[in-house]
């Protein structure tokens, strides 16, 4: 199989990544969000493996394995468990209605492609064309964080941002040095568990996972 063929697959997976980011924006249910997050992880890991294979960058295999283990298996499993324990799987009404969010999302994608253009031109990697998509998925995840008022969707948005950043690292430089990727993965894992504990505290105190209750602290 030739390099161009591999590249086409990577580009396809990048497109899937972007589609999932949009799907997350429009998803109303928390369980649906978690499933989408797991699929995004899968697409990320698959594209990392293909890049690793076609460019003989062996450290990327570890990075793909990490993504697969943490973002496809451990974290979704943990989130499903949390949702069941906290019993919060109901429709989530986003703060801005979904069509408007989608339109803002499209504008963000255009902005991301423009921002990535000069950097992508300088990159020596074969995957540079996907840098714009990576940035776009970071921004879309950010948008999701802003427009949701529930705690778990905000955290999934945060993790989806991390996914986008990993993808950006892969497409611009074939990934960060291994020790850094390990450190980042450790941080993300710790963050998820700390927040898991934290959710129970929120639940205990507010009797709800809706962060709209959290509006006491502001400047008068």
């Amino acid at each position: 199989m030739s390099l161009t063929y591999h590249l086409q697959v990577v580009n396809l997976l990048a497109a899937v990544l972007l589609l999932i980011a949009f799907a997350m924006l429009s998803q109303r249910r928390i369980v649906g969000l978690i499933t989408l997050f797991a699929w995004q992880g899968t697409a990320l890991a698959a594209s990392t493996i293909i890049v690793a294979w076609s460019t003989a960058q062996h450290h990327l295999y570890y990075s793909a394995a990490l993504t697969l283990a943490l973002k496809v298996v451990v974290m979704p499993w943990y989130f499903f468990r949390l949702v069941r324990k906290l019993d919060v799987d109901r429709d989530v009404e986003p703060m801005i209605n979904i069509p408007t969010t989608m339109l803002i999302g499209i504008a963000l994608v255009i902005f991301a492609f423009n921002l990535a253009l000069p950097i992508a031109q300088m990159a020596g990697t074969v995957t540079r064309s996907t840098l714009g998509i990576a940035l776009a998925s970071v921004l879309l995840a950010f948008l999701m964080m802003i427009t949701r008022s529930k705690a778990i969707p905000q955290v999934i948005g945060f993790l989806a941002m991390e996914n986008g950043l990993f993808f950006a690292a892969t497409s611009a430089t074939y990934g960060m040095p291994l020790v850094v990727e390990l450190g980042v993965a450790l941080d993300v894992l710790v963050a998820v568990f700390v927040l898991g504990i934290f959710f129970f505290h929120i639940r205990e105190t507010f009797d709800s996972m809706d962060l709209k209750h959290m509006e006491r602290l502001r400047e008068k």
Binding site: Q154, L165, A172, T173, E215
Partner: protein
């Protein structure tokens, strides 16, 4: 060798306190671990002063020079005095029923881990690990900010996590861009993110990419420094967390985050030439922080919130001075960093005892501290006077240097700085004065609080105002020259 002790002791302490921290002596054990860390930091400092900068571990995983060893020493020192202060303070909180033994265990373990991650951030040579350690420091403190589990504390901790998390994600993108630029010159692999390697080739790094990387790094780490308009988490986290945590957040974490910005700035300056975007951006953010924070101080009713805004103001001033660059401004900024850490943590110690005795953080309800307890009253008054820059305290000297230097380099900025400092002075002094000297019907408190750390810190600040020992001045000068300009 010292470096492994320095990082190993707090991490071992965290583990030990997490596993066996239920016993009655946990606060003493916490202080003992902090003392051991301080000794390790002291020997490391002595060695750097004798032998100059050094690389340690493997291919140079750790790099210590005059700039970071001074922050290592400061961090270990304030961490130790805060542990001393927290010993009686947290015991009283437990007696008041605000905390259970299990939460105290979490508190002690997280405290040590927090100190450990900050020391790792300061000593690592790898810009990627620096990011990992900064995020680790946030995670270690999220559950500390929410320790009291009140609705307000949970909200503050959530805000802290989400805002700093988003900020730090931007810093990660900045780090990726930095690696992207470095990889072209240094080749792929772990070596391309080592600061010493980057510093060696900084003139060859692609300026456009580095410019963009710095914007992301500044916004990312700047969120943790508390620069306006990214400061929203800071007053809440300081006001709602336990007071020893407010002291270390304000006195140490903000410095470490600014350290990360400065390491990046040195690289960007090398790639772009000295008077560049990096300095201007820092001056802009710094000035905005000084002015906005000074105006907001006036509107505060909660004493810890007010001092949190004062921290934003001072970090803004330091950022502004670093942004100006040049030997004098960098010297003044380093001095101000030290003085702010010492003074602000001393103030939080005094405020902690005052609010604990009064049972409230609302300033209008705290009156006549000088009558109910002279030690706390004087501690708070002297601390406030010191942070407001009244001579002969050291803060006056560093602020004076920064402002005179600003008059030379950027005259347009001086009126803003002077006005902001004036407003901050008037509003803060006006609020603290009745707290200390006002009328009160409360009786004199029977027991004396342990406030030795407050007075040790204030004595050091006073000493640095009257005279800076030659070796210390030399040290600051060396550090300032490392920062370029």
């Amino acid at each position: 060798m010292e470096i492994y002790w320095l990082l190993g002791i707090p991490l071992a302490g965290g583990l030990y306190l997490a596993l066996w921290g239920n016993r009655t002596h946990a606060p003493e054990i916490n202080a003992a671990f902090s003392l051991a860390t301080l000794i390790a930091a002291g020997t490391l400092t002595a060695r750097i002063v004798d032998e100059g900068p050094m690389l340690a571990g493997g291919d140079g995983w750790f790099f210590i020079d005059a700039f970071n060893v001074f922050l290592v020493a400061l961090t270990a020192f304030v961490a130790f005095t805060t542990a001393l202060f927290s010993r009686p303070y947290m015991r009283i909180e437990q007696d008041h029923g605000r905390l259970s033994a299990a939460r105290l265990r979490l508190y002690h373990a997280s405290y040590q881990i927090f100190i450990g991650t900050m020391l790792l951030a300061l000593t690592t040579n790898n810009m990627g690990i620096l990011w990992v350690a900064m995020e680790g420091a946030t995670l270690a403190t999220v559950l500390l900010v929410s320790l009291y589990r009140t609705p307000a504390a949970l909200e503050a901790a959530w805000k802290y996590f989400i805002l700093c998390g988003v900020g730090i994600a931007l810093a990660l993108f900045g780090t990726i861009l930095l690696y992207f630029a470095a990889e072209k010159v240094l080749g792929a692999g772990g070596g391309a993110l080592l600061w010493t390697h980057l510093n060696g080739v900084k003139a060859q790094l692609e300026p456009v990419v580095l410019q963009l990387a710095f914007v992301f790094l500044l916004v990312g780490y700047g969120t943790k420094v508390g620069l306006v308009p990214l400061h929203n988490w800071l007053p809440d986290a300081h006001a709602e967390g336990p007071t020893p945590i407010s002291a270390v957040l304000s006195g140490l974490l903000l410095n470490v985050a600014l350290y990360a910005v400065m390491r990046s700035k040195v690289l960007v300056d090398g790639a772009l030439g000295v008077h560049s975007l990096a300095g201007n951006l820092m001056m802009g953010f710094g000035l905005l922080s000084v002015v906005v924070a000074a105006l907001l101080i006036k509107r505060q009713t909660d004493v810890k919130r007010m001092f949190a805004y004062s921290s934003i103001e001072h970090m803004g001033l330091i950022t502004f001075a670093f942004g100006m660059g040049g030997p004098v401004a960098s010297f003044a900024a380093l001095l101000h960093m030290t003085l702010h850490s010492l003074t602000k943590s001393a103030i939080f110690f005094a405020v902690g005892h005052a609010t604990q005795k009064a049972g409230t953080q609302v300033m209008d309800d705290i009156r006549g501290l000088i009558k109910t307890n002279p030690t706390i009253g004087w501690g708070l008054m002297l601390g406030t006077v010191a942070i407001l820059g009244v001579p002969p305290f050291g803060v006056f000297a560093s602020e004076f240097l920064i402002i005179t230097n600003a008059m030379h380099q950027h005259p347009w900025a001086t009126p803003f700085l002077l006005a902001a400092l004036g407003v901050a002075f008037a509003s803060m002094f006006g609020k603290v004065q009745p707290m200390v000297f006002g009328e009160t019907g409360l009786p004199r408190l029977p027991h004396q609080p342990a406030l030795a750390p407050v007075f040790i810190h204030l004595a050091l600040v006073l000493m640095l105002g009257l005279f800076i020992p030659a070796y210390l001045a030399d040290w600051y000068r060396q550090a300032a020259s490392l920062l370029g300009g």
